[in-house]
């Protein structure tokens, strides 16, 4: 695929998202408020037990984990499911399919611009604030590089899952139900609502075998571990790579099959 074409879409996305000055502000303010809520909530939660460490996590560990999970979520959430659903309902999807680009890539690159602005406006400020506030709780070393690699995998897995969910919209008009379900389930199973370390036993093991934990839990545990054992690091990234490839294939195949079905039925 022509890489220039992709970046043109990214650029257009950045311009588009910068148009909305007020909404950028709302996003930033909203995130701050959200962070405050999480902070107070978990402070109260930790205050209710006698120990400082619960399930191997201190208050500041939990806080960093959850805050960055939210920041990652904001950066990765492209509202792809809404978009596909909306286009399917309005019939605009037919126009998109005529574009000389695979729809999956077209949509990804169209939204990459928003992701870039989100990265600078929400993730980066949050990251800096958290680093300063927790005063050295985030190790700053090679783990940052591993973190970036891990996030790239996470973005890819997340997009594949979004795309699969979006594809379901071809079969139903109820995009609302799907849209509601997706983030809640993904956030819970990926450890973004409550760190996976807190999960009671059978759950914890089950969740480890699902792709979702690769989206938030994996990059965050890579980030918080300043001195990782190479074997552990490679396992985490390896599992991510595995899910990345698998979900990519599944999402492509599912889209292809669904599209054939739809065109046959003349939907």
């Amino acid at each position: 695929m022509n890489i220039k074409r992709c970046f043109t879409l990214t650029r257009a996305g950045i311009i588009e998202s910068l148009q909305f000055r007020l909404s950028t502000l709302v996003v930033v303010a909203g995130n701050l408020l959200y962070l405050v809520v999480i902070y107070h909530l978990w402070q109260a939660i930790f205050a209710s037990v006698d120990t400082d460490v619960v399930n191997g996590m201190t208050f500041s560990d939990t806080l960093i984990y959850l805050v960055l999970a939210t920041a990652l979520f904001n950066f990765m959430e492209m509202y792809v499911v809404w978009e596909i659903g909306r286009r399917v309902q309005s019939g605009e999807i037919a126009l998109d399919l005529l574009k000389p680009m695979k729809y999956r890539s077209f949509l990804f690159w169209s939204y990459s611009g928003t992701a870039v602005t989100q990265f600078f406006f929400t993730f980066l400020p949050t990251f800096i604030v958290v680093t300063i506030v927790t005063n050295g709780a985030i190790p700053l070393g090679w783990n940052l590089l591993y973190f970036v690699i891990s996030v790239v995998f996470a973005v890819s897995i997340n997009y594949s899952i979004d795309f699969i969910t979006g594809t379901i919209c071809l079969y139903t008009e109820s995009i609302w139900g799907i849209n509601m379900m997706k983030p809640v389930i993904v956030l819970l199973l990926s450890g973004a609502t409550i760190p996976i370390a807190f999960f009671p036993e059978p759950f914890k093991t089950i969740v480890q075998y699902l792709p979702f934990q690769s989206i938030y839990n994996a990059p965050l545990s890579v980030l918080l571990d300043g001195n990782p054992e190479p074997a552990k690091l490679l396992t985490t990234l390896g599992i991510q790579l595995f899910w990345c490839v698998l979900m990519n294939i599944v999402s492509r195949v599912f889209w292809k099959i669904s599209l054939r079905q739809i065109t046959v039925n003349g939907g």
Binding site: R11, I15, L18, Q19
Partner: protein, 333 residues
Amino acid sequence: MSNIIEIKNITKEFKVLNRREGLKGSLKDLFSRDYKIVRAVDNISMNITQGEIVGYLGPNGAGKSTTIKMMTGILEPTSGEILVDGCIPYKNRTRNAQNIGVVFGQRTQLWWALPLVESFKILKDIYGVTDKDYKDMLELYQSLVDIEPLLHKPVRQMSLGQRTLSDILAAFLHNPKIVFLDEPTIGLDVSMKAKIRTLIHALNKEKNTTVILTTHDMGDVDALCRRIVIIDKGKMLYDNDIEHLKGFFGYYRTLKIRVSGSLSETAEKIAAEFPEFSVSANDEWISVLVDEAKSTVMDVLSQLQKTYKIRDMQLEEISTEEVIKKIYEEGVK
């Protein structure tokens, strides 16, 4: 006859954002913005009497929909006065709404998932139509178009034509004094267009409803309107009878003749003979655009008959469309 709509010197101004171009421009827009004032409607006056069908014309962005929004009461004029049925629309939006019906081609106002008859029943309640009036209206509709198959069909399953038809019927249901039709025939095929025009005409006759029609289709205008109003860039260009319009640029008529012999040669000779008229030749016909202010078609014809053997002839009036096109392009002299 009394005026149902009175508009006196209305003007409407909007504040719009000047966006800068490119990535750099967008970043700049983030921090500083620059607005300009646009005058969408500029000092327009008109009176419309009960029962008239008025064609409200103008190119895209001329200010048509702004004027209509002011007449329907959802927009307040920057200055000037509007009275619709004796009251000021924007101060009495709901009361005004009782008096009007609105149709947008392509945008249905009916309940998407409901069968048409259910939409009608809800509208009946909303507008407080009595059972008798409702029944009479449905009977009238039935006599004009075959609505039976439409009534039990959900709006979402209708074709565009059926939907437009339904929307028009819904707009007339509460027997409003005025109906605004915004491009009612847009996107429809020829026979559906004709059907809709006939329907509008019949409803106007039957109920003496005032109809304000905006359209880009001169077929609608020719079929329905006696009077037309043309605006462009917010300013009124023309407000008069449609016949009058044709005289606006002189009374032009096109004389078409068929002669024996070479077409282009003859055309050239005729052009030399009548330098004041434009002459063209195609499809075996020679056309002479005659300005009747200079000489009549009959004079030209008898002159031609002396020199050439005319095998066949036709006379064409200049079409409204051509005149309007000319007005849009050149403005009114």
